[in-house]
């Protein structure tokens, strides 16, 4: 069976992603794409003031995560994170 036959649309991942985005954010651990250091969200260094959250790695100061509230929507940039790890709170 080829890959296209197995492919689903993104909605099929909704259950998994709902679990992730409903997670308690303070339990999230992020790994810096720059230096590989893993830190809890609370251990990241917050800059950006009123413009948005710029969360930097405590090891190398690279940006791990950026977020901003823009006229009723939220933008999240995870380019600086190799991955996020979220604990199953259930």
């Amino acid at each position: 069976m080829d890959a296209e036959a197995l492919r689903l649309d993104g909605n099929a991942a909704a259950g998994l992603l709902d679990q992730i985005f409903a997670s308690e954010v303070t339990t999230v651990r992020g790994t810096c794409a720059g230096c590989g250091r893993t830190s809890s969200i609370g251990a990241l260094l917050l800059y950006g003031g009123a413009m948005g959250a710029v969360l930097r790695c405590p090891g190398c100061e690279a940006v791990v995560l950026r977020a901003a509230a823009i006229r009723g929507r939220y933008l999240l940039d995870l380019r600086g994170a190799a991955h996020l790890e979220l604990r199953d709170g259930a």
């Binding site: 800059y47 003031g49 948005g52 710029v54 930097r56 823009i70 006229r71 929507r73 940039d77």
Partner: protein, 202 residues
């Protein structure tokens, strides 16, 4: 009662402020600090300013060479997207026109790059024609590191995030490339008089 409202408004504002605050802004007398990252402390003997990208040849100035360029002292109002405006701030620096003098380019855009990795993008026409400077003094004193020293871009006719702190150069580009805040929902151009704060603002 309308004449009372007008009178109160007139006395309540700092003299000269009327008509100088873009929509949605308030008058700030201090100088708030907003930063996307830690303050870099690049030694002046390792500082340079470069003009790179679509140029006939890369231009580079050391700190001493930069200070030897013709300087201008200008007084302008500045407007932060977080809604404060500060009137009559006085800066000394080198006009971007001076830095581009003799540079052959077909670029239409620039991306300012900085110590610490910050970037901001602008159309070339927003930094030429006496509209932008690389400023190294504020109110007659060397520009403090918290405010972008040793040198920052100054583009006072646009929201102040365009006036990149700790600037180290301009990359001239044929195609526009969103900078740090412009890629996180902030307006690509940022004209305070048109209240261009966010993506989608006209």
């Amino acid at each position: 009662m309308s004449f009372i409202s007008r009178g109160f408004k007139g006395r309540g504002r700092r003299e000269g402020a009327a008509g100088r605050l873009p929509p949605g802004q308030y008058l700030e007398h201090g100088f708030p600090v907003l930063s996307a990252g830690p303050t870099p402390h690049t030694p002046l003997d390792r500082w340079d300013f470069t003009m790179v990208g679509q140029v006939d040849q890369v231009r580079r100035w050391t700190w001493d060479e930069f200070l030897a360029l013709p300087a201008e002292t200008i007084t302008r109002d500045i407007h932060c997207v977080t809604k404060w405006s500060k009137l009559d701030s006085t800066w000394t620096g080198v006009s971007v026109d001076t830095l581009l003098d003799g540079v052959e380019t077909s670029a239409d855009y620039v991306l300012a790059f900085c110590d610490g990795g910050y970037t901001t993008n602008l159309p070339l026409e927003d930094v030429t024609g006496g509209k932008a400077w690389i400023a190294y003094a504020y109110e007659g004193q060397p520009l403090a590191p918290a405010h972008g020293g040793p040198a920052r871009l100054l583009v006072p006719h646009l929201y102040f995030w365009k006036s990149a702190k700790w600037v180290r150069g301009l990359e001239l580009l044929a195609a526009d490339q969103p900078g740090f805040w412009e890629s996180l929902g902030y307006h690509n151009r940022g004209d305070p008089w048109r209240e261009q704060r966010y993506w989608g603002d006209e």
